[in-house]
């Protein structure tokens, strides 16, 4: 037992050391820390209320008092992007938490119990994976309606099958191990065996997938916003800002460039960090 607990700790410190030694991962982590700081200190960073129309003249080019320019209503784009981090990031994270928890539980149960439950569950997951995730999200929005909670649900549910599929596979591999059999033989109840003995041994792929998924969830949230199905005005959200800027692409390109660039940086950083995590946590890649 003691040995098991010690292993993750040493892994954590090794992780930190490797992160600092890898420039790309270090840069990605820095970008993300900056973004999170921007989200946390948004009211201090932003000079204007993100919803205030006529903060400046409409469609002012970037520079001076408006580093990212203003939109058609004279709202400050920089303030909106900074405040938008408080919307886009938490929604993306919440959706990932939903996908991770729901998908992992489902995958664990299917892999562990097998039989008819697994057969039915696996077919259901096959069907869900048959849809592109954004279509699934659109379908869910169509049923539930528009709103922040529904966006989280839509993005979260549309990501669930991928988690379930991978966790199921990993669980099947772990299920047959001697220590699981031992735990069962000692009279451990199914939930106890699952959570204390199986889950700790499949958490690697879950963490990697979850990290990679944050980027996608943010992107999907923004896609819904772009289609007008996400966050409602006057709340600033990066995808909605992109959509609002589309009409002015040739007159005020900064309305698309800045939200687009921030979205891009966020997603790329998260994905690079996810790749880095995968390298560390995937036993097959470790030591290469």
């Amino acid at each position: 037992m003691a040995q098991k607990r010690a292993r993750p700790r040493s892994r954590t410190s090794a992780f930190a050391r490797r992160l600092l030694r890898t420039p790309i991962a270090g840069a990605s982590a820095t970008v993300l820390v900056l973004l999170l700081a921007a989200a946390a200190f948004a009211p201090l960073l932003a000079r204007y209320d993100p919803a205030a129309t006529a903060a400046g003249p409409a469609l002012t080019a970037p520079g001076g008092a408006y580093p990212f320019g203003t939109d058609r209503y004279g709202r400050d784009v920089f303030s909106r992007i900074v405040h938008g981090a408080r919307v886009s990031l938490p929604i993306g994270l919440a959706a990932v938490v939903l996908s991770t928890v729901a998908g992992s539980l489902l995958g664990l149960a299917m892999g562990f119990f097998g039989g008819r439950f697994d057969a039915v569950g696996s077919r259901a997951i096959d069907i869900m994976l048959g849809f592109p995730p954004i279509m699934l999200a659109l379908l869910i929005i169509a049923v539930l309606g528009i709103g922040i909670t529904n966006v989280i649900l839509a993005v979260g549910i549309s990501g669930t099958p991928r988690f379930a599929r991978i966790v199921r596979g990993a669980t099947i591999g772990v299920r047959e191990n001697v220590y699981v059999e031992a735990a069962r033989a000692l009279g451990g109840s199914s939930p106890r065996v699952l959570l204390r003995h199986v889950l700790p041994n499949v958490h690697g792929p879950i963490i990697v997938l979850a990290t990679l998924f944050v980027g996608r969830a943010i992107l999907e949230t923004s896609s819904l916003g772009f289609l007008g199905l996400g966050v409602q005005p006057p709340i600033p959200e990066w995808g909605t800002m992109l959509s609002e800027g589309r009409e002015f692409m040739r007159h005020a390109p900064w309305l698309m460039i800045f939200p687009g660039a921030v979205l891009f940086l966020t997603v790329v950083s998260i994905n690079l960090l996810g790749d880095f995590l995968r390298e560390i946590l995937d036993p097959r890649l470790r030591g290469r």
Partner: protein
């Protein structure tokens, strides 16, 4: 080596495919004009259509008995003269004798009777024309070139409605009999200056000049056949694509030029823009008078005083639209000018009204009463871009306008469920009788009954006033009654008129002689010319 061979084969294959891709060639001789249209079409039968986009095509092919110009004047068209009976229940028309349909059959009293009678047939599925005929009782053929149209009761919109070629245009009875209603809708036959050639759904409609045409109303300079031979309508729904097509000269004229492009195109030497101030009900917000808190007239009035209409409209539409103040636009007959005195921008007054109504400023500046915040649910489908500055301005007086962008399906669901406080509406119409559509209590929607009285103000008094105005065939009396209706609506703040619907038409300067039709949405091409 192998990879390179595969590559070469693949490239050759691609090269072979190129000529196989059809390239749409648009004739760019001076003999053709192409219009870029923002909306797809379903029917080209005026008796069936209810779409102002279909009207853009229909109006070039069909003609009405009377021509109504954009100044509100009537001119003889298919009818040489007309007379209203003293009791207001019938009109007699003397028809032109020299008119022929595109299929060569003669236009006469029988064709007019056939058109109007067939609209009454439920099998046709008329969407607008049947309403435009009102309490129609029948058409009598007095002689081959004289008809009398009868109504069950006096019907004042008759003269405007009979001037509307995209709804009450006269169709060729022989063609309808030959093609059937569905066939006619796809291959229409009228008497107008252009005749039908082809229609490729979702892509284009092509018309050609009617070489026999010589019976235009006097408002046009031209008196014979059109001065160019081919008129095409291309369906390009996306506004920026349409704008790019105009710049590349793939099209010559386009509707719904994005407001921000208006100044740029006006500044160019080779392009210009004309903007139609569309008649009917302006774009505005219907207040739901059946639900708290918009059932309180003080809340509705405060909302209207809180918004700086000229500023918001100017900013949102880059100067292309005009603010609106009355329930009908100044381009609609019977407009009451005093409407412009109502609800000037005055936030101090708005705050005072809300104070009097018991709404006190609460946390975050949003007003409260009995612990409930002053929150108005606003599902928006039309002109969502206007919602953002208005949301910001009403917030300054303590109203939280909860904006939600909705789909048409969701909007309709909310209408059936009576679940909204504010709802945007507009109605493009030529006759002020359109007020009944929005304000008659019989037009309050209910589950399964889609109607347009979204303010849900059911008042026998207003119903009576509207009925009286619709039955007043004497113009001066009708105008007086309509003023009363408009005053009643504004006094009770049932609707917040915001901007006149506008139709910015961008065109190449090489094209001259474009003319707005009645209502100022569609453009008539009969007088047009293209420089060679």
């Amino acid at each position: 080596m192998r990879a390179r061979r595969v590559l070469i084969v693949a490239l050759l294959f691609l090269a072979l495919m190129v000529p196989a891709v059809p390239v749409p060639v648009v004739a760019q001789s001076g003999d053709s004009i192409t219009w870029g249209e923002d909306n797809d079409l379903v029917t080209l039968d005026p008796r069936v259509s209810q779409s102002r986009h279909e009207a853009q095509v229909i109006m070039q092919m069909f003609e009405a008995l009377i021509f109504l110009d954009t100044d509100g004047k009537y001119h003889p068209w298919l009818a040489e003269s007309w007379e209203l009976a003293k009791d207001g229940t019938s009109m007699t028309f003397k028809l032109r004798r020299d008119v022929k349909f595109h299929d060569g059959t003669p236009f006469n009293a029988q064709a007019v009777k056939f058109t109007f009678d067939s609209i009454q047939d439920p099998k046709l599925g008329s969407q607008a024309a049947i309403d435009f005929l009102g309490p129609y009782a029948g058409t009598d053929i007095v002689d081959p070139y004289t008809i009398r149209i009868r109504w069950k009761q006096p019907y004042s919109p008759a003269i405007n409605n009979l001037s509307n070629p995209w709804v009450l245009g006269i169709v060729s009875p022989a063609a309808v009999q030959r093609l059937g209603n569905d066939g006619f809708a796809r291959s229409p036959v009228g008497t107008g200056p252009f005749k039908f050639v082809e229609w490729v759904p979702r892509q284009r409609v092509v018309l050609e000049r009617n070489p026999d045409y010589k019976w235009p109303p006097k408002v046009f300079r031209n008196t014979g056949p059109a001065r160019f031979s081919r008129l095409a309508f291309r369906i390009i729904p996306d506004a920026s694509t349409r704008t790019a097509a105009l710049e590349r000269r793939e099209i010559d004229v386009m509707d719904q030029l994005p407001p921000i492009e208006v100044r740029r195109f006006r500044a160019r030497p080779d392009y210009d823009v004309m903007i139609g101030d569309v008649s009917g009900i302006p774009y505005g917000y219907s207040f739901n008078t059946s639900r708290e808190p918009t059932n309180d007239v003080r809340v509705r009035r405060a909302f209207m005083h809180a918004v700086n209409r000229p500023q918001v409209v100017e900013q949102t539409f880059f100067g292309a639209a005009k603010p609106a103040y009355g329930p009908i636009t100044p381009t609609t007959p019977g407009y009451w000018k005093d409407a412009e005195q109502y609800f000037p921008f005055d936030q101090a007054k708005a705050r005072q009204m809300l104070d009097e109504a018991g709404w006190r400023v609460g946390p975050g500046g949003i007003r409260q009463k009995d612990g409930k915040p002053l929150e108005l649910y606003f599902p928006v489908l039309l002109q969502p871009e206007l919602a953002i500055p208005i949301q910001a301005q009403v917030r300054e007086v303590g109203i939280n306008l909860k904006v939600e962008n909705v789909t048409k399906a969701k909007q309709d669901e909310l209408i059936f469920a009576n679940d909204y406080h504010v709802l945007p509406i507009r109605w493009v119409a030529v006759d002020p009788a359109v007020l009944s559509v929005l304000f008659q209590s019989r037009n309050i929607p209910s589950p399964g009954k889609f109607k347009f009285n979204w303010n849900r103000f059911g008042s026998p008094e207003l119903d009576r006033m509207l009925n009286e105005a619709d039955g007043a065939t004497e113009p001066a009396r009708r105008a007086r009654l309509l003023q009363g209706v408009q005053k009643f609506i504004l006094d009770r703040a049932l609707i917040f008129p915001i901007n006149m619907s506008f139709q910015p038409v961008g065109y190449r300067k090489a094209v001259t002689g474009l003319k707005f039709a009645q209502g100022q949405w569609q453009v008539l091409f009969y007088d047009a010319q293209v420089a060679r």
